[in-house]
Symmetry: C2
Subunit: 711 residues, 2 copies
């Protein structure tokens, strides 16, 4: 019937609007039942459950069998980590797989079978699930005793496929790969030519005294290649040339040439290439997001214009304002946006909306919320008004900053004075007294500001919230200290009481004071710019960070599996692998000492003298196991290339992009009084984005696999 | 008289045109005598003498008293370096000062006294000369025994003031300083806040076993600051956190936070800022060069238009073609440019040139020479024509590349096979035989190519020149080998004869073969692009490299003076300081082992076991001298900031700038058959540069301090 049809159209419009808001594709089934399923699937609860499942399955690695969830990393002191019984983590895994199975089947159903065969991500999803389940069955049939668990390496895929941003970023990175591969090839050519040169230059001589360089670094092809590859990371920079340099100073020319060409030119060329390639792709991805939004809105317009109530005689299609209102009420969206749209709809006061008007109404979605701070309270009394003026003035804030600085300086002075004192000689009175005074001032400042500005206005500023929260924490800590240890007096050195010693309490208070000092940031222009750039970056970096987590995870699990035999005698080191991989980020792993001790397999314990943390220990161990060493090399070189070279360069590219856009805008626009918070990539590229044309939109709409438009 | 006036005008025009060609300022005296002096001063001989003088005074450092011009750097084997007698280097210095004095007085006279007082560079020049001379007199009166020689630190100034490119670059860097200072300030705030946090976190505890972190890295404020500063260079990355991490894994959060914020964000922000700031300045400096060129040409036009022979009645001023021809004949310029200008003058066939026409004629100066290869010889015989077709074909070149690759691979295989053999077991027959074969092929290839292309055309390609030169060298080496050691046969292992052993000869040949393999570069598109970018960069980088040399030199001399007492017992180490400073480029000097041994002052000799080259030795020594250690810290941190942080970032900025321009051009233009060689900054920015307007030029001309224009 017409009523049912109309209901379907309204429902379709609602879903399309929601798609537009979330930048989702509109290529899904549009019949009544599917729409219900679709809205249920994208409801907050469902998505939250999916997110939780992904978190749980990733977090499983921390408690699974070779677990190292202990406080200390020192093998001597730490208790054996708790190993879950066989079947516990496996049953949690099965639950997760179930959720994923539901997820993939709903997704596949919603996009329709035709689309399904074109969607490689969904196919890979199903394949991953099948492989994981098979592996799970094998694992259970061996009573969790089998070595190879492929499903662990596959886990990060679940994170990857769930985020459209990450998929998009991966696509961008993928398009940069050919160029990157060229430079990496160039690096390889550079490396191999220099290796041959080095092997000819530092050949074995008849005089055993003269070929130290050959013995230490260029004994054979793999050794020579490793030496020069490590030199490319600058880790063994002076050492590798010392024997040759000590023979003849001129040998240094070879190393200098290699370093300048490889390290200075080729490595930075990689930065330039990645930046150059990546510039366009970020913009492109934002452009496609915009297209999705416009397309969703247009689709909503088209279905609404098919409603029976509109006059069909006119050439152009129109949408009645009533239908739109109905859709707006039911669609899930930010209430501020909804109100703004309804308001403009009322202002325009047109009964029939054309496509352009319809699009224009929804431009509100692209705008950022303009924060309006609540007004200050209006006091009657003259005294209160004066107080309000004084304590609401920016200078009062500056005074607060000066006091905070004075506090920092005083803490610093005490730290320097107490640096070499024995803990028993230390007098906590001075620090206790000054902190007491300063915290009193902070509380007073907060109260006065609240009086001057009113609580609501006070809390509407993020800097005030930060300030207030820390002040309250400091006050609580100080009161707790006095409650347990009494008021400070000269020679105030009480014994340990309660949860923390007085010294620990004072340290904690001091740390919070140091932390509170960050409130000066918004007052310094350049710092504010830098901090907002960094915040922007963090927001834009989420997709990158996600991909990094995926790579981290896969590498960590692969590493654990590869080096299982080597690591076992030292201790179970799961968390460590994450840490090692973080450290390698800053080019640690092929650092000199590793290579050095790698050579002197046996006596590294003697060299270290006393016990070193297992982190170096285990790495040394696994590097010293000859069998594994070549695998380890390939593994670490791959990791170095991905994390230290490619990821860092991508990061630089993103930072350059963000910063230069921000900077240009700062220079072009008039100075705005408040700091702007424009954190989304979309807003950053606003001025450069192109609006999709009517034809493009309609062409795309007509290609929709499930929606049959009347015309 | 009129004739003398006319001569003066012609001379002025000649000098102005020469100024335009060399991008020189035209603000100098323009009377007859001064013009003669000016042309003499800027003649090739004079400038060559000046350049030589600068080289000599800079090179003096290598043979001056604490000289280390020895082959080996090993103190045990090396002979005491030759120390010149007192008065030798000093008299060379005096000669140099004399040349500089003449230089500065000519320069000052030429720009005139009024301009002189505005020119800070000239003032500084005179001041430097006076200080140097005073220091020289003091030095001689002490019979070269005094410690402090300020004039040595001042020497690089002579290099700096002589290059207008370097002065311009320095100005650019100078304008970037405020922004850089902001980030460095931010880094300092980051560092100091984290230092305070660390000192509170890793405080001394009553239990001696628990405060390893405090003992090792955070004992007092300077120690803590150093630890974290070194962490910022990632040199002590895992070690600094090991004791705390071994106590509680959670402590790693502090270090990770510090590294991510400082190393990943702030350091790369510096890159972004420098790139962003620097982008404009390079363009600006090129723009001002263009302005100088246009101004010089316009000034020539103006003086030529005042010649008496031109009709004075017309509103616009004109220049007769005859006068211009006269000027062109006498002005010193590239003969290709001169001919091109004369040719266009004849084509235009106008007797009177307007200002616009005049400027247009000289646009030839901005164009790059288009290289035309000589034609191939035309053979009569059918056989020769066929040969010409076959061996002139690109595929023959590709075949040559394949053969070169095969040669490389064969050398590689022999190297791998011989890697662990004793020198006495080695059989040189195989390598000798294959090299003989390959070199024969190379010679044949060269000869065939010469026949096919003709000698002139063959030599006109740089790749052929490279190829041919190496082939000839290889042939000579091979013939020499056969002459001394006879032809290769199995078991060919002759004793040492002549200058080099057979093994050394073979190695040398192999090295040249490896080097010759670089001929493949122009055949690979991406490689060719990268290599031309690098060549561009090297050209544009000269000014940067000059400034780096200035800073290197000043730092090296300062270091020698600062650490004189500390270094003396180890040995004289002048050249070493240059090397140390180069190594520090790749963040060597605050590397871990230094810091480590810096802590364990005494037993580093025992640790090293056997003798290490003095380079580490002397650094350790001077770091281990407690008195000097704080100075050394400041010195090295300053050096790290300048060379490793600022210079490397400037380099990245320049590389990005070059590469992105190049890349954009490659994408926009149609593909050109030959590789273009556009190496000057001017040409790179061609499309973006703005031509100065007529008004700007005339205004500038009227401000000329010595030239009185008629109107």
């Amino acid at each position: 019937g017409t009523g049912a049809d109309n209901d379907l159209y309204i429902n379709q419009a609602i879903v399309f609007i929601e798609d537009a808001i979330q930048y989702r594709s509109i290529n899904h089934r549009v019949d009544s039942k599917s729409l219900g399923l679709y809205r249920w699937y994208y409801s907050r609860t469902c998505q939250w459950i999916l997110g939780l499942t992904i978190t749980v399955i990733l977090a499983l690695a921390f408690i699974e069998k070779p677990s190292s969830l202990t406080i200390t990393s020192d093998v001597r002191y730490r208790l054996p980590a708790w190993n879950p019984p066989c079947g516990l983590t496996e049953s949690i895994e099965l639950l997760c797989f179930l959720v994923f199975a539901i997820d993939v089947s709903v997704k596949s159903y919603l996009i329709g079978w035709e689309e399904f065969w074109k969607n490689k991500w969904l196919m890979a999803y199903i394949l991953t699930l099948i492989v994981s389940l098979t592996d799970w069955i094998v694992s259970l049939s061996f009573f969790c005793a089998e070595d190879l668990r492929i499903r662990r390496i596959l886990r990060p895929f679940f994170l990857l496929q769930n985020s459209s941003m990450m998929k998009k970023t991966l696509k961008s990175i993928n398009s940069t790969l050919p160029e990157m591969a060229s430079v990496v090839l160039l690096l390889a050519v550079h490396l191999s030519l220099f290796t041959m040169f080095a092997m000819l230059l530092f050949a074995r001589t008849k005089d055993g005294q003269q070929d130290k360089e050959w013995v230490a670094y260029f004994r054979n092809l793999p050794d020579a290649l490793t030496s020069l590859l490590v030199l490319l990371t600058t880790a063994n920079n002076p050492d590798v040339m010392i024997p040759a340099y000590s023979k003849n100073r001129a040998y240094s020319i070879f190393f200098i040439l290699f370093t300048v060409l490889g390290n200075l030119f080729l490595m930075h060329l990689l930065t330039a290439i990645i930046y150059n390639q990546f510039r366009g792709y970020l913009l492109k991805s934002v452009q496609s997001s915009l297209f999705r939004r416009r397309l969703g809105i247009r689709a909503a317009f088209e279905v609404l214009s098919s409603l029976k109530e509109t006059p069909a005689n006119s050439q152009q299609s129109y949408v009645s304002a009533g239908a739109l209102l109905q859709v707006l009420q039911k669609a899930e969206m930010d209430s501020r946006c909804r109100q703004a749209i309804i308001r403009s709809l009322k202002i325009c006061s047109c009964d029939q909306l054309s496509a352009a008007q319809f699009q224009k109404l929804f431009e509100e979605l692209d705008k950022d919320a303009i924060k309006q701070h609540p007004p200050t309270p209006e006091y009657q009394s003259h005294f209160m008004q004066k107080m309000q003026f004084v304590f609401g003035h920016p200078y009062f804030g500056y005074l607060g900053n000066v006091v905070a600085l004075a506090n920092i300086v005083s803490i610093c002075v005490v730290l320097v004075m107490d640096a070499d004192k024995q803990p028993s000689e230390r007098d906590d009175f001075f620090l206790g007294a000054i902190n007491c005074f300063f915290i009193l001032y902070y509380v007073l400042e907060m109260l006065l500001k609240i009086i001057a500005m009113g609580l609501k206005r006070y809390l509407s500023y993020p800097s005030n919230r930060f300030d207030g929260l820390l002040t309250v924490i400091l006050l609580v800590l100080e009161i707790a200290t006095f409650a347990v240890y009494g008021f400070p007096h000269p020679g105030w050195r009480p014994e340990f009481m309660g949860l923390l010693s007085l010294w620990d309490m004072v340290r904690l208070v001091n740390m919070f004071i140091v932390f509170r000092f960050l409130r000066i940031i918004p007052n310094m222009k350049f710092m504010a710019l830098v901090v907002t750039t960094l915040l922007d970056l963090v927001k834009n970096l989420r997709a990158f960070a996600g991909i990094l987590v995926v790579v981290f995870y896969a590498f960590a699990i692969t590493g654990i599996m590869l080096f299982k035999g080597a690591v076992v005698p030292v201790g179970n080191t799961r968390l460590n692998f994450f840490l090692i991989i973080f450290l390698s980020q800053t080019s640690f792993y092929i650092k000199k000492e590793i290579v050095l001790y790698f050579k002197e397999k046996c006596d590294f314990m003697a060299l270290f003298g006393h016990f070193q943390a297992e982190i170096i220990y285990c790495l040394l161990y696994l590097l010293s196991v000859n069998l594994i060493c070549r695998w380890a090399k390939i593994y670490f070189v791959a990791w170095w290339l991905i994390s230290s070279v490619i990821w860092v360069n991508l990061f630089i590219a993103l930072l350059l992009e963000n910063f230069i856009h921000k900077w240009d805008r700062r220079c072009h626009r008039e100075p705005v009084s408040d700091i702007e918070y424009q954190r989304t990539v979309e807003l950053m590229f606003r001025d450069v984005l192109e609006e999709p044309t009517e034809e493009e939109l309609m062409e795309k709409l007509h290609q929709h696999p499930h929606l049959q438009l009347c015309r």
